[in-house]
Symmetry: none
Subunit: 242 residues, 2 copies
């Protein structure tokens, strides 16, 4: 997420750069109106923070210029607190207006509110197991067969186990961990739950349940989810390499 900050006060610029960088934003700064436009065209920021009282070009004109080609949110930061200034800026195309001095926490929250609408493409944890798609956020499992998608129904316990495995791709999940996290801390002795539900999951998810490629069992330790699907032909000899 890239933010362009246009302010003629270098001290404010420095402070904001430090704070916003710490929040994970990428910062581009400008000290004049013309520079703001130039850098905006150059860097294509996702959010604008624009001060009104800049030399060379008024902030209002900068807003107009930006709105000529960008839909990105514009947050105006200004020392003027009059209603007329706010109305003018907002009607020019700004999305929010904050007066100096402002709380940095509030500013961050307003930036989050503005970017929330633009950046709803937060990567959904979606995992592919051959022709089966697992969407953890939607709690849905679908199998695509010949262009047709059909839903695969999972019981709550099956979900619990699948979630534990998929959220740790490639890593071993101890039998102990699964038992205590799903059935409670008092369960330590394996009475056969795991084998049961792993079998059930494989039957519903694996292309060939008899030859597991994604839900791998580590004998004596636990289970592991292999996101790559393992080898296609497991019957060969892959003995000693380096």
């Amino acid at each position: 997420m890239k933010i362009l900050i246009a302010d003629d006060d270098p001290q404010i610029l420095r402070a904001l750069r430090i704070t916003l960088t710490a929040q994970g934003y990428e910062i581009v700064t400008a000290t004049t109106g013309t520079q703001a436009i130039t850098r905006a065209v150059d860097h294509r920021p996702d959010v604008f923070m624009i001060d009104l009282g800049m030399p060379e070009l008024e902030g209002i004109d900068v807003i107009h210029a930006i709105r000529g080609w960008s839909e990105a949110p514009i947050l105006v930061v200004s020392g003027r607190s009059g209603a007329a200034d706010k109305v003018e800026a907002l009607d020019a195309g700004a999305d929010d207006y904050v007066t100096k001095p402002f709380s940095i926490e509030e500013l961050l929250a307003r930036i989050r509110a503005l970017t929330r609408r633009v950046a709803h493409e937060d990567s959904d944890p979606v995992v592919q197991l051959g022709d089966v798609t697992v969407d953890l956020s939607a709690h849905s499992v679908t199998r695509t067969r010949g262009g047709e998608t059909e839903h695969v129904r999972l019981t709550p316990t099956e979900w619990q186990m699948l979630e534990r495995l998929v959220r740790n791709p490639g890593k071993l999940v101890t039998r102990q961990t699964l038992l205590t996290e799903i059935w409670g801390s008092e369960h330590v002795s394996d009475t056969g739950y795991l084998r049961l539900y792993v079998a059930q999951l494989r039957r519903k998810l694996e292309p060939d349940p008899a030859v597991p490629r994604y839900l791998i069992t580590e004998a004596g330790m636990g289970y592991r989810f292999d996101p790559d699907g393992g080898p296609v032909e497991p019957a060969r000899e892959t003995a000693h390499e380096a």
Copy 2:
């Protein structure tokens, strides 16, 4: 353009109603949190103006509830000017925060800024469930049978539930989520509400209520709306078939 104003001060309500009506807006008012949610579901406003200090239900909870099914802009109007309150409201899903007393001109400008963004978005929430059409924006359900269209009446609670499900197509909606968002955060134990209203919805919407194809129940977890209508042949238990 319809605006819902939720405030416990009837005097403010009256003043805002006059001013905003003069601007060409359609106004819906509410004086309590629960009433705000009810009327929101009922009238589907394009913008929300919510006061924080309302009885029955905190403004924050109202914001959460609205965000459960609506993307409409939320403007918080509050007497509290602390940064913490602002951060909390904005992070809960609000788009703007204005402190009382406020300039009416500024308020109008902020509303214009918020609605400007919505006008560009073009999600037309119309869903088909067999021969039944659900128009979320128009707040209407019609069944077309042999060229003839008849109106289907839904109670407010039925709408609440249908909204939650249809707004999240394909995604599982937890029983917990439905309970807390529709009946309040104090409800956690299922006393049978959900089964009741889901049955009611199925009776009114499903082509064959005995074999649900759109309002799918996920045993032990919640419910899910399947926009594709699922398979014609309901999936049997996973045995050993090709």
